[in-house]
Amino acid sequence: MSTFEFVVGVVYLAAATLFVVGLHLMRAPSTARRGNLISAGGMAVAVITTIVFAAISSGGTWIGWGVLLVGVSVGAVFGIVQARTVKMTAIPQLVSIFNAVGGGAAAAVAFASFVADTDSSALSLTVSIPIVLDVLIGSVTFAGSLIAAGKLQGIISGKPLTFPGARILNVLAALVAVGAGIWALFGPPNLTLLLVVLIASLVFGLLMVLPIGGADAPVIVSLLNAFTGLAVAMAGFAINNQALIIAGALVGAAGTILTLQMAKAMNRSVGAIVLGGFGTADSSGTAAGSPAEDLTNIRQLTADDVAIQLAYAQHVLIVPGYGLAAAQAQHEVAELAKLLISHGVDVKYAIHPVAGRMPGHMNVLLAEANVPYEQMLQLDDANAAFDNCDVALVVGANDVCNPDARTPGNAVSGMPILNADHAKSVVVIKRSMRPGYAGISNPLFTDPKTGMFFADAKKGLADITTAVKEYVTA
């Protein structure tokens, strides 16, 4: 090891330290932004060091550097424009796309290193094993993340998609990928075999994510995020770059822990999700539960009814759900809350860990609408507050406040829920009686103290706000 290499190694360690400190600071809302900036600083250090190191040790050609510059500019412009203009409701899809391109980049680096090394006769196993693993994992995450993004965006049906023989084809793809990979390791360097690994892995990634239900997609995105970390670490082994190994392993491990915590918050096991979802096991339940739009036991409310109820209340808890996110009604709900607060009503938000499209997403949406962090209550605090709450205003949420979760034997049993039914009265804004993702009916809606206001979340909230204004000023 030359002095130069030593210095590069030390600078990489400094960058790695910044990544770790940054990730650590991201655990608390108050320091999270600083954490992300520190991590970005580490990235700048790693990139600059690598440019200097690669230019001095390998040299390279002008064409190579020119192509890189053009490629990086294109990618950077795409990434920054997307990141700055994306609607907050579409964040999960975008994260998934950024994850896909990361996996794709790792696979491309492995290919490039393979092509560059094949000139020098046979590859040693220390290089070819990580190359094959990188292509394998990178392609799976590339295809899988794109499908997950499509599901979150609604381009691809959120329903679990399967076709006869899908499982067999999936196993076959996995076998071909692994088989070709092993063959590539022990034979002479062969680009065709690596291409077979690539294609089989893409097919596997595709088939792995297609049968997963849309509501589980966030967990898959997180899992694939961890995979990309590992793919990047493998790329680090292939080109002997410690920055890639450290950062990749860090993300691989952190992403795995995050995935487990997310799955726990949703009361799902990662294994069950990967093996093909809610939908397959109780698809019959979904079919049986949905058509019955029985409105006989339901008390329907108008915007005026809801306005009066809210204006008279002392304590109001808003339960925002997927419907609110889908209708992009975060500004409307914040406006209603602000109006009520100025009228002397105590308003808080009860946020279920999986409200929105992925864990923590609802907090981001409400933060976008300038809702103060202290007004958002997490599950335990919210459930304590429901006992003393006059009106629980449920907006586009369903399964997260289904009291049936407390009794065993149904699709939501055991899921942590918000005790909206403990409030003195409940108002539900919902478009129809259609069941939620779990596909079962919700007894909260037929509870005598519950009133239903059938409306799109955005329009319904605006109407209520107008009604409250008239009521308060009149």
């Binding site: 940054g22 990730l23 655990r27 809302p29 108050s30 992300n36 991590s39 970005a40 990235m43 790693a46 390998s58 040299g59 390279g60 050609t61 190579g64 192509v67 890189l68 510059l69 490629g71 990086v72 500019s73 294109v74 990434g79 920054i80 997307q82 990141a83 907050m88 975008l94 950024f98 994850n99 391109v101 794709g104 980049a105 680096v109 560059a116 997180s222 995020n225 970390g229 670490a233 790329a235 680090g236 082994f237 410690q242 890639l244 190994i245 990749g248 392993a249 860090l250 993300v251 691989g252 491990a253 952190a254 995050l258 915590q261 999986v354 992925m358 923590g360 981001v364 300038n370 599950l379």
Partner: protein
């Protein structure tokens, strides 16, 4: 060669352990930004694209360099910017009605 592999393996395993330790209990509020932040960190693969560029000396190599460059840059730049945009919304603890920011068209 084998020494190098060993030291790289040691770095890999220890980094895995650090990764597990550094993310202990995260409030579910931060799951989305955290995922996005970790996503940005694996954008370090852009360093791999740089090494690739320096090694490339054939048309195939150039094409792969280009692909790796585009994809990795989208990952790293987009990842950090979108995470920052999300967290920026968290870090105004007492959002007063005065600064209702309209700068964001979305």
């Amino acid at each position: 060669m084998i020494e190098q592999l060993f030291s790289n393996l040691a770095i890999f395993v220890l980094s895995l352990l650090v990764g597990v330790e550094v993310i202990s209990k995260i409030p579910s509020t931060l799951h989305t930004p955290m995922m996005s932040g970790a996503n940005a960190i694996h954008g370090v693969v852009i360093a791999g694209a740089i090494v690739t560029a320096a090694l490339a000396d054939s048309p195939t190599g150039y094409v792969l360099t280009f692909i790796a460059g585009v994809l990795a840059a989208a990952n790293v730049f987009g990842g950090y910017v979108v995470t920052d945009r999300m967290l920026q919304m968290f870090s105004k603890p007492n959002a007063t009605p005065v600064n209702t920011d309209t700068k964001d068209p979305s």
